[in-house]
Symmetry: C2
Subunit: 146 residues, 2 copies
DNA sequence: CAGTATCCCCCCTGATACTG
DNA sequence: CAGTATCAGGGGGGATACTG
Protein backbone atom coordinates (compact mmCIF):
# COMPACT_ATOMS: atom_id res chain seq x y z
CA UNK A 1 0.00 0.00 0.00
CA UNK A 2 2.69 2.47 0.90
CA UNK A 3 4.85 0.07 -0.99
CA UNK A 4 4.44 0.94 -4.60
CA UNK A 5 5.64 4.49 -4.24
CA UNK A 6 6.79 4.65 -7.81
CA UNK A 7 3.27 4.02 -9.01
CA UNK A 8 1.84 6.75 -6.83
CA UNK A 9 4.42 9.10 -8.25
CA UNK A 10 3.84 7.98 -11.80
CA UNK A 11 1.41 10.80 -12.46
CA UNK A 12 -1.24 8.32 -13.52
CA UNK A 13 -4.51 8.91 -11.69
CA UNK A 14 -5.49 5.27 -12.11
CA UNK A 15 -2.37 4.10 -10.31
CA UNK A 16 -2.85 6.64 -7.56
CA UNK A 17 -6.47 5.60 -7.06
CA UNK A 18 -5.51 1.97 -6.83
CA UNK A 19 -2.84 2.85 -4.34
CA UNK A 20 -5.54 4.42 -2.20
CA UNK A 21 -8.38 1.92 -2.47
CA UNK A 22 -7.00 -0.98 -4.50
CA UNK A 23 -6.49 -3.42 -1.68
CA UNK A 24 -8.53 -6.50 -0.93
CA UNK A 25 -11.12 -4.94 1.34
CA UNK A 26 -11.51 -1.22 0.88
CA UNK A 27 -13.92 -1.20 -2.03
CA UNK A 28 -16.08 -3.81 -0.38
CA UNK A 29 -16.31 -1.73 2.76
CA UNK A 30 -17.16 1.31 0.66
CA UNK A 31 -19.79 -0.67 -1.20
CA UNK A 32 -21.42 -1.53 2.10
CA UNK A 33 -21.28 2.10 3.11
CA UNK A 34 -23.20 3.04 -0.04
CA UNK A 35 -25.61 0.36 1.02
CA UNK A 36 -26.32 2.23 4.23
CA UNK A 37 -23.99 0.50 6.65
CA UNK A 38 -22.28 2.70 9.20
CA UNK A 39 -21.34 0.64 12.22
CA UNK A 40 -18.24 -1.44 12.85
CA UNK A 41 -20.30 -4.52 13.50
CA UNK A 42 -22.38 -4.08 10.38
CA UNK A 43 -19.29 -4.07 8.21
CA UNK A 44 -17.70 -6.89 10.11
CA UNK A 45 -20.67 -9.17 9.92
CA UNK A 46 -21.52 -8.49 6.30
CA UNK A 47 -17.99 -9.01 5.03
CA UNK A 48 -16.80 -11.84 7.21
CA UNK A 49 -13.62 -9.83 7.74
CA UNK A 50 -11.69 -10.20 10.97
CA UNK A 51 -12.06 -7.38 13.47
CA UNK A 52 -8.38 -6.58 13.46
CA UNK A 53 -8.19 -6.16 9.73
CA UNK A 54 -11.41 -4.17 9.62
CA UNK A 55 -10.15 -1.78 12.27
CA UNK A 56 -6.95 -1.22 10.31
CA UNK A 57 -8.78 -0.69 7.04
CA UNK A 58 -11.26 1.71 8.58
CA UNK A 59 -8.47 3.68 10.19
CA UNK A 60 -6.62 3.90 6.88
CA UNK A 61 -9.73 5.00 5.06
CA UNK A 62 -10.37 7.70 7.64
CA UNK A 63 -6.76 8.83 7.32
CA UNK A 64 -7.16 9.03 3.59
CA UNK A 65 -10.25 11.18 3.95
CA UNK A 66 -12.65 8.64 2.50
CA UNK A 67 -14.57 8.00 5.70
CA UNK A 68 -15.10 10.25 8.68
CA UNK A 69 -16.32 9.22 12.09
CA UNK A 70 -19.40 10.59 13.81
CA UNK A 71 -21.02 9.89 17.18
CA UNK A 72 -23.51 7.04 17.03
CA UNK A 73 -26.96 8.15 16.01
CA UNK A 74 -28.58 5.79 18.49
CA UNK A 75 -27.04 7.46 21.52
CA UNK A 76 -24.58 4.69 22.30
CA UNK A 77 -20.95 5.52 22.94
CA UNK A 78 -19.71 4.15 19.65
CA UNK A 79 -18.67 5.73 16.41
CA UNK A 80 -20.24 5.58 13.03
CA UNK A 81 -18.30 5.63 9.81
CA UNK A 82 -19.75 7.80 7.10
CA UNK A 83 -18.44 8.55 3.65
CA UNK A 84 -17.00 11.98 3.02
CA UNK A 85 -17.54 13.79 -0.27
CA UNK A 86 -14.32 12.19 -1.43
CA UNK A 87 -15.65 8.76 -0.47
CA UNK A 88 -18.97 9.44 -2.14
CA UNK A 89 -17.01 10.30 -5.27
CA UNK A 90 -16.27 6.60 -5.60
CA UNK A 91 -19.86 5.86 -6.50
CA UNK A 92 -19.16 5.60 -10.24
CA UNK A 93 -16.32 3.17 -9.52
CA UNK A 94 -18.63 0.88 -7.60
CA UNK A 95 -21.31 1.16 -10.26
CA UNK A 96 -18.82 0.40 -13.01
CA UNK A 97 -17.59 -2.69 -11.18
CA UNK A 98 -21.15 -3.77 -10.55
CA UNK A 99 -22.22 -3.41 -14.15
CA UNK A 100 -19.18 -5.25 -15.46
CA UNK A 101 -19.86 -8.08 -13.04
CA UNK A 102 -23.52 -8.22 -14.01
CA UNK A 103 -22.67 -8.40 -17.68
CA UNK A 104 -19.76 -10.81 -17.70
CA UNK A 105 -19.65 -12.76 -14.47
CA UNK A 106 -23.14 -14.14 -14.08
CA UNK A 107 -24.71 -16.96 -15.98
CA UNK A 108 -28.07 -16.47 -17.57
CA UNK A 109 -29.85 -18.40 -14.89
CA UNK A 110 -28.07 -16.79 -11.98
CA UNK A 111 -29.69 -14.01 -10.05
CA UNK A 112 -27.86 -11.05 -8.60
CA UNK A 113 -28.67 -7.90 -6.70
CA UNK A 114 -29.66 -4.88 -8.73
CA UNK A 115 -29.03 -1.16 -8.44
CA UNK A 116 -32.20 0.77 -9.05
CA UNK A 117 -33.38 4.35 -9.19
CA UNK A 118 -34.97 4.81 -5.77
CA UNK A 119 -37.66 7.07 -7.12
CA UNK A 120 -39.03 4.88 -9.85
CA UNK A 121 -37.52 1.50 -9.14
CA UNK A 122 -35.96 1.08 -12.57
CA UNK A 123 -32.42 -0.24 -12.98
CA UNK A 124 -29.88 2.49 -13.62
CA UNK A 125 -28.49 2.99 -17.10
CA UNK A 126 -25.28 1.38 -18.25
CA UNK A 127 -22.43 3.82 -17.69
CA UNK A 128 -20.97 5.22 -20.84
CA UNK A 129 -17.89 7.28 -21.52
CA UNK A 130 -18.79 10.38 -23.47
CA UNK A 131 -16.96 13.06 -25.35
CA UNK A 132 -17.35 16.73 -24.56
CA UNK A 133 -19.97 16.98 -27.28
CA UNK A 134 -21.92 14.02 -26.05
CA UNK A 135 -20.84 11.19 -28.31
CA UNK A 136 -20.51 7.77 -26.67
CA UNK A 137 -16.86 6.76 -26.80
CA UNK A 138 -15.39 3.33 -27.12
CA UNK A 139 -12.00 2.80 -25.51
CA UNK A 140 -10.38 2.87 -28.94
CA UNK A 141 -11.83 6.33 -29.51
CA UNK A 142 -9.75 7.66 -26.64
CA UNK A 143 -6.14 8.29 -25.85
CA UNK A 144 -4.07 9.12 -22.79
CA UNK A 145 -1.94 12.23 -23.13
CA UNK A 146 0.69 13.68 -20.86
CA UNK B 1 -8.28 -14.58 -5.14
CA UNK B 2 -9.89 -17.94 -5.07
CA UNK B 3 -9.88 -17.34 -1.39
CA UNK B 4 -12.94 -15.29 -0.71
CA UNK B 5 -15.32 -17.84 -2.08
CA UNK B 6 -18.17 -16.65 0.08
CA UNK B 7 -17.96 -13.25 -1.53
CA UNK B 8 -18.04 -14.67 -5.00
CA UNK B 9 -21.14 -16.59 -4.01
CA UNK B 10 -22.75 -13.63 -2.36
CA UNK B 11 -24.70 -12.71 -5.45
CA UNK B 12 -23.23 -9.22 -5.39
CA UNK B 13 -21.73 -8.29 -8.75
CA UNK B 14 -19.33 -5.87 -7.11
CA UNK B 15 -17.85 -8.62 -4.98
CA UNK B 16 -17.61 -10.97 -7.90
CA UNK B 17 -15.85 -8.34 -10.01
CA UNK B 18 -13.37 -7.65 -7.26
CA UNK B 19 -12.73 -11.32 -6.93
CA UNK B 20 -11.83 -11.40 -10.61
CA UNK B 21 -9.73 -8.25 -10.99
CA UNK B 22 -9.41 -6.80 -7.49
CA UNK B 23 -5.84 -7.82 -6.82
CA UNK B 24 -2.81 -5.58 -6.75
CA UNK B 25 -1.80 -5.80 -10.38
CA UNK B 26 -4.63 -6.80 -12.67
CA UNK B 27 -6.21 -3.40 -13.17
CA UNK B 28 -2.85 -1.82 -13.79
CA UNK B 29 -2.07 -4.40 -16.44
CA UNK B 30 -5.47 -3.79 -17.99
CA UNK B 31 -4.90 -0.05 -17.91
CA UNK B 32 -1.69 -0.54 -19.87
CA UNK B 33 -3.53 -2.73 -22.33
CA UNK B 34 -6.01 0.08 -22.96
CA UNK B 35 -2.96 2.22 -23.47
CA UNK B 36 -1.89 0.02 -26.35
CA UNK B 37 0.55 -2.34 -24.69
CA UNK B 38 0.47 -5.94 -25.82
CA UNK B 39 3.81 -7.54 -25.15
CA UNK B 40 5.11 -9.22 -22.03
CA UNK B 41 8.09 -6.92 -21.92
CA UNK B 42 6.01 -3.81 -22.35
CA UNK B 43 3.93 -4.65 -19.33
CA UNK B 44 6.90 -5.74 -17.33
CA UNK B 45 8.91 -2.65 -17.97
CA UNK B 46 6.10 -0.17 -17.51
CA UNK B 47 4.91 -1.61 -14.22
CA UNK B 48 8.17 -2.59 -12.60
CA UNK B 49 6.54 -5.93 -11.78
CA UNK B 50 8.69 -9.05 -11.55
CA UNK B 51 8.51 -11.44 -14.45
CA UNK B 52 7.24 -14.29 -12.33
CA UNK B 53 4.34 -12.34 -10.94
CA UNK B 54 3.48 -10.89 -14.33
CA UNK B 55 3.43 -14.32 -15.93
CA UNK B 56 1.07 -15.57 -13.23
CA UNK B 57 -1.23 -12.59 -13.52
CA UNK B 58 -1.37 -12.78 -17.28
CA UNK B 59 -2.14 -16.47 -17.14
CA UNK B 60 -4.95 -15.86 -14.66
CA UNK B 61 -6.38 -13.08 -16.75
CA UNK B 62 -6.33 -15.28 -19.83
CA UNK B 63 -8.02 -18.04 -17.86
CA UNK B 64 -10.68 -15.62 -16.76
CA UNK B 65 -11.32 -14.59 -20.33
CA UNK B 66 -10.12 -11.02 -19.92
CA UNK B 67 -7.10 -11.36 -22.17
CA UNK B 68 -6.49 -13.68 -25.06
CA UNK B 69 -3.19 -14.45 -26.68
CA UNK B 70 -2.36 -13.92 -30.32
CA UNK B 71 0.76 -14.51 -32.38
CA UNK B 72 3.11 -11.54 -32.39
CA UNK B 73 2.26 -9.01 -35.04
CA UNK B 74 5.93 -8.41 -35.78
CA UNK B 75 6.55 -11.95 -36.90
CA UNK B 76 8.60 -12.99 -33.88
CA UNK B 77 7.79 -16.20 -32.10
CA UNK B 78 6.23 -14.56 -29.10
CA UNK B 79 2.69 -14.00 -28.00
CA UNK B 80 0.75 -10.82 -27.63
CA UNK B 81 -1.90 -10.25 -25.02
CA UNK B 82 -5.00 -8.52 -26.23
CA UNK B 83 -8.16 -7.66 -24.38
CA UNK B 84 -11.25 -9.69 -25.15
CA UNK B 85 -14.69 -8.08 -25.28
CA UNK B 86 -14.98 -8.96 -21.63
CA UNK B 87 -11.72 -7.20 -20.90
CA UNK B 88 -12.71 -4.21 -22.96
CA UNK B 89 -15.85 -4.04 -20.86
CA UNK B 90 -13.67 -2.85 -18.00
CA UNK B 91 -13.09 0.46 -19.71
CA UNK B 92 -15.65 2.33 -17.57
CA UNK B 93 -14.01 0.92 -14.44
CA UNK B 94 -10.65 2.32 -15.45
CA UNK B 95 -12.18 5.64 -16.42
CA UNK B 96 -14.05 5.87 -13.13
CA UNK B 97 -10.87 5.19 -11.17
CA UNK B 98 -9.00 7.73 -13.27
CA UNK B 99 -11.56 10.44 -12.76
CA UNK B 100 -11.77 9.89 -9.03
CA UNK B 101 -8.01 10.08 -8.79
CA UNK B 102 -7.90 13.24 -10.85
CA UNK B 103 -10.49 14.92 -8.69
CA UNK B 104 -9.39 13.90 -5.21
CA UNK B 105 -5.81 12.69 -5.29
CA UNK B 106 -3.91 15.43 -7.05
CA UNK B 107 -2.97 18.82 -5.69
CA UNK B 108 -3.78 21.89 -7.68
CA UNK B 109 -0.22 22.30 -8.86
CA UNK B 110 0.33 18.67 -9.75
CA UNK B 111 0.03 17.51 -13.30
CA UNK B 112 -1.34 14.17 -14.37
CA UNK B 113 -2.03 12.31 -17.56
CA UNK B 114 -5.34 12.99 -19.24
CA UNK B 115 -7.85 10.86 -21.14
CA UNK B 116 -9.00 12.61 -24.26
CA UNK B 117 -11.34 12.05 -27.15
CA UNK B 118 -8.98 10.93 -29.90
CA UNK B 119 -10.96 12.66 -32.57
CA UNK B 120 -11.11 16.14 -31.11
CA UNK B 121 -8.54 16.04 -28.35
CA UNK B 122 -10.94 17.19 -25.65
CA UNK B 123 -10.98 15.51 -22.24
CA UNK B 124 -13.80 13.03 -21.84
CA UNK B 125 -16.84 13.94 -19.79
CA UNK B 126 -17.14 13.05 -16.12
CA UNK B 127 -18.98 9.75 -15.80
CA UNK B 128 -22.43 10.06 -14.36
CA UNK B 129 -24.91 7.48 -13.17
CA UNK B 130 -28.24 8.00 -14.88
CA UNK B 131 -31.76 6.75 -14.44
CA UNK B 132 -33.67 5.05 -17.21
CA UNK B 133 -35.25 8.38 -18.09
CA UNK B 134 -31.95 10.21 -18.18
CA UNK B 135 -31.78 11.97 -14.83
CA UNK B 136 -28.35 12.16 -13.23
CA UNK B 137 -28.43 10.13 -10.03
CA UNK B 138 -26.57 10.70 -6.83
CA UNK B 139 -25.72 7.60 -4.80
CA UNK B 140 -28.47 8.50 -2.34
CA UNK B 141 -30.99 8.41 -5.17
CA UNK B 142 -30.28 4.74 -5.67
CA UNK B 143 -30.86 1.51 -3.85
CA UNK B 144 -29.69 -2.07 -4.12
CA UNK B 145 -32.47 -4.62 -4.37
CA UNK B 146 -32.41 -8.39 -4.29
C1' DC C 1 -20.72 -3.77 21.04
C1' DA C 2 -16.32 -1.90 19.50
C1' DG C 3 -12.19 -2.27 19.40
C1' DT C 4 -6.87 -3.60 20.65
C1' DA C 5 -3.02 -6.91 21.23
C1' DT C 6 -0.68 -11.13 20.07
C1' DC C 7 0.59 -15.05 17.62
C1' DC C 8 1.15 -17.60 13.50
C1' DC C 9 0.79 -18.98 8.92
C1' DC C 10 0.20 -18.50 4.17
C1' DC C 11 1.07 -16.47 -0.06
C1' DC C 12 2.37 -12.69 -2.52
C1' DT C 13 6.44 -10.73 -4.12
C1' DG C 14 11.10 -9.90 -5.63
C1' DA C 15 15.73 -11.82 -6.87
C1' DT C 16 18.23 -14.96 -9.24
C1' DA C 17 19.31 -18.48 -12.38
C1' DC C 18 18.00 -21.20 -16.21
C1' DT C 19 15.74 -22.39 -20.96
C1' DG C 20 13.91 -21.85 -25.78
C1' DC D 1 12.93 -11.46 -25.67
C1' DA D 2 9.70 -14.35 -23.17
C1' DG D 3 9.03 -16.95 -20.10
C1' DT D 4 9.73 -20.96 -16.09
C1' DA D 5 11.76 -22.73 -11.68
C1' DT D 6 13.26 -22.09 -7.21
C1' DC D 7 14.21 -19.85 -2.96
C1' DA D 8 13.78 -16.60 0.90
C1' DG D 9 11.41 -12.61 3.23
C1' DG D 10 7.76 -9.78 4.73
C1' DG D 11 3.40 -8.47 5.36
C1' DG D 12 -1.50 -9.14 5.16
C1' DG D 13 -4.92 -11.83 7.17
C1' DG D 14 -7.40 -15.04 10.41
C1' DA D 15 -8.10 -16.79 15.19
C1' DT D 16 -8.13 -15.97 19.77
C1' DA D 17 -8.02 -13.57 24.00
C1' DC D 18 -8.48 -9.33 26.39
C1' DT D 19 -10.41 -4.44 27.62
C1' DG D 20 -13.71 -0.41 28.07
Amino acid sequence: MVKRVSLWDSGCPVARSLDAIGDWWSLLIIRDAFDGKRRFGEFQQGLGISRGVLATRLRDLVTRGIFETAPASDGTAYREYVLTAKGQGLFPVIVALRQWGEEFLFGLGETHSLLVDRERGDPVERLSVRSADGRSLDWSDTQVTA
